[in-house]
Symmetry: C2
Subunit: 190 residues, 2 copies
């Protein structure tokens, strides 16, 4: 059984995911990945022939991850406010990893992305927005959450607070992100 291969491919994917969120699509190279694995850059091309293939796989893993999270949240009995907090916590954690969220990363590089990947990015983004909107709508129906906008708009407001919040935190510090997180949770409670 070729265990090594699978591992290498998985490691490439993991390293590339981190690099994508840390420096963006155009700022990392196959060399950056291969050096971490002590192989030659061309070995990465065996597993992912082109950088587009690699990016596509990364985006697809995020689509899978978020489908998992969506399913988890849908079946969860957590209070709605805690579900939003889970989401916010994920973003807070990105800061510690010197990362921004995947959507913000590919949005900034959007006009340099291969066409085929753009469609997957659109899918991913609407998946996340829909997930958040569902949590919000259900929470409001149950009397747990309060907001005046329609659910998708409120999801947009929260998502943009979080996504740009981790970006800003790189510049002005994590404290600003914490202010944002505290404020948006508080807003939902009244």
């Amino acid at each position: 059984m070729p265990a090594k291969s699978t591992d290498t491919k998985q490691e490439i994917l993991s390293i590339a995911r981190d690099l994508l969120k840390k420096v963006g699509y155009n700022a990392f190279s196959y060399s950056d990945i291969s050096k971490q694995l002590n192989i030659k850059n061309a070995a990465v091309h065996y597993h992912y022939p082109t950088k587009e293939d690699l990016l596509a796989d990364i985006v697809n893993t995020y689509i899978e991850d978020y489908k998992q999270l969506e399913s988890g949240l849908a079946h969860s009995t957590l209070p709605a406010i805690d579900k939003v907090s889970v989401f916010a916590d994920r973003y807070a954690h990105l800061i510690d990893l010197q990362s921004i969220c995947i959507i913000g990363s590919v949005a900034s590089d959007f006009y340099t992305l291969p066409e085929a990947v753009k469609d997957r990015v659109i899918l991913l983004t609407n998946l996340v927005l829909g997930m958040v909107a569902n949590v919000l709508e259900k929470g409001r129906t149950n009397g747990e959450l309060f907001f005046a906008e329609d659910a998708r708009t409120k999801a947009l407001l929260i998502m943009t607070n979080l996504a740009a919040g981790v970006q800003l935190a790189r510049i002005t510090g994590k404290k600003d992100f914490e202010s944002i997180r505290t404020a948006l949770i508080a807003q939902l409670k009244k």
Copy 2:
């Protein structure tokens, strides 16, 4: 008088500003700039020896621009809500130019930026945040605006809505940005 030189340098700066906001620091080259001016890429190096020099000048022009805007807003008799709208309109316009805001652009590329530029980026960001916070605070004092958070936090919330809003608009369309803009203006009115 060497008018040509000044013009060329100004044109380089203008083109580079647009490229920075459209594709980010790592995705444009001196060639991209020189081709638009029908000169060789090395001619750009005469005006800006290194890419770091070019980036630094770009950030500095934004610092100057925002100081102008800050001064303009401080002396303006516009209703506070209109001042916020002016700001939101600037972001909406970016979408039509296939751009994102300068701060979001450099934030995404932050860990690949030359160290000297990072300090200028921090300055620029706090300048903008402070400007927005001032407008908000004055508006609240005058009874024109309503919000529960402290002014800097509210500025962070609005700035992140707008900055990530233009990013998201690349992926899901301008309509989502308009939803965000309408909602955040409405929030300030009650």
